[in-house]
Symmetry: C2
Subunit: 302 residues, 2 copies
């Protein structure tokens, strides 16, 4: 419960800083009811996960690190201190919206797995209304967009771990979850993106951008991602190119892998990728084809 208390205080401070990015410390004490010594300690910790500067009298949160200051053309952006999950919140906001929260109480991963969405990362759901035939390509396109954006901005050699984790040297830096709601001729896709940016991932096998290149203002990354998602039509129209790029980023082919499904665990070599996004595993002389839906977890053996 001590951890819970500290988190609650940090969220309280963030809520105030989202109303206004500059505060006198005295005012912030008044509006949070946190004593000055305690506040000082909390600001020291927060400034390790956010671009914030403070002294004895005031605190400033760099607007380039505050998602709500972004006004992406053609999108509605909603920024919350805390949400259950951005996927659930996005359902009510309609297509072409971006829902972002600083902390998720029940972050959703693939196959209903939970994962940590803590302070300083990017936890967002981007919703778009797209033609039905785009559906199978969206997880692939989203993975490519995230990997490409990270590499072009920060030169960190991000790769894709099948089906759509983004890894750097084998450590997970971002995850993607695509959900959809179908309508007669189109559907609304809810693309959940979690990126360890300035947060402390605190999970084994995960790494944050700040561990590689130091604290970065998140809006640069967000704006670049949103720009690429705005051009989704062009990306999926060039299907062959997209799959070729996905394969180039793929870190999984040629590796010994352990594949977990509902019906058991299989070891083998990841040999090839089919155009529909399925992976071909060579195991004991057989070739097995798995699509992302049936695979609960894929791990590298080496």
């Amino acid at each position: 419960m001590v951890l819970g208390e500290k988190l609650l205080m940090k969220l309280l401070i963030l809520s105030r800083l989202m109303e206004r990015n500059e505060w006198h410390i005295k005012e912030l004490i008044r509006e949070t009811g946190i004593s000055s010594e305690r506040l000082n300690k909390l600001l020291r910790e927060l400034s390790k996960n956010y671009l914030m500067t403070y002294d004895e009298s005031s605190i400033v949160w760099n607007p380039a690190d505050i998602p709500s200051t972004l006004k992406p053309w053609g999108w509605r952006l909603y920024h919350y201190p805390v949400l259950g999950s951005t996927q659930d919140a996005a359902r009510g906001h309609g297509p072409w919206s971006i829902v972002i929260a600083e902390y998720l109480i029940e972050a959703k991963g693939r196959h209903g797995r939970s994962w940590k969405a803590n302070l300083g990362g990017i936890w967002a759901t981007i919703s778009l209304q797209v033609p039905s035939e785009w559906a199978p390509l969206l997880p692939i396109a989203a993975s490519v967009i995230v990997a490409k954006t990270l590499n072009s901005l920060y030169k960190i050699n991000a790769k894709i771990k099948w089906p759509n984790d983004i890894v750097v040297n084998g450590s997970k830096i971002a995850g993607i979850l695509v959900e959809a709601e179908a309508f007669p001729n189109s559907f609304i896709a809810y693309i959940g993106i979690g990126i360890n940016v300035n947060n402390n991932p605190g999970v084994e096998g995960a790494i944050a951008l700040k561990d590689l290149v130091g604290l970065k203002p998140r809006n640069q990354l967000l704006a670049s991602l949103i720009g690429r998602f705005s051009r989704m039509g062009k990306i999926v129209d060039e299907k062959e190119k997209l799959i070729k790029t996905y394969k180039e980023y793929l870190d999984t082919l040629g590796r010994k892998v352990i594949v977990e499904t509902h019906s058991g665990v299989i070891e083998g070599i990841a040999e090839d990728l089919r155009d529909d996004g399925s992976i071909v595993i060579a195991s004991e002389g057989r070739e097995l084809v798995f699509d992302p839906i049936t695979v609960l977890r894929l791990r590298y053996k080496d």
Copy 2:
């Protein structure tokens, strides 16, 4: 951490309900990102601590249970979903203000002790600027006000346990903490009042009003308390009457008690109350006088 998550979700829901007391469930899902099954469970729990009614499509929080709907004449009232402590927040709001929060992360008790300020209670700091000579009478007056208000509204036979706990049949229903800031001719008193109203105290030896008379709208109690605090001048001017009333409410005289101080623990009979609020304890043939400042804790032996 499971408890922490649930609390965070409840605070998120309360924050939204403080913006507006009526919501469609769909909108509330959108603005909290909490899934509908989960939300339903949380609303069921919240309605045990708040006057809320909900069905499949909407939720209404009774305005008579929402402190911010009170507009007490001559006072500024600030209502927060969560604060560190109302005492720390009140320091920045100046005199004649009332600071209320639904949950306190670090509630302050006497002698720096912490205590639970959880959902459904009244956790408030009332600040008033008063002449210096009122100082010693404020803890006494505040205790009388709280006990009197509870009894006149709910007929629960609330008593005062020396120095300023409010008890019903020996169980604590309310606590008072008086702090002050001195100025040349006057001082600002910060009177912290915690009352177990519709919350689950969850602490041994504590009881809530709802355990005695069922859920009650908190504003009736708050308005009555504030009315009495507005007449503080009259109350302390009639000093003899005040002390007489305090003594009438006092549950402690004649009892076997255990008194803890920094210099040790003493057992004896609580014999008398001095006009300055000190208590006289008969112990092994001696008469010992304790003032509230030196007593860390007083317990009843029987």
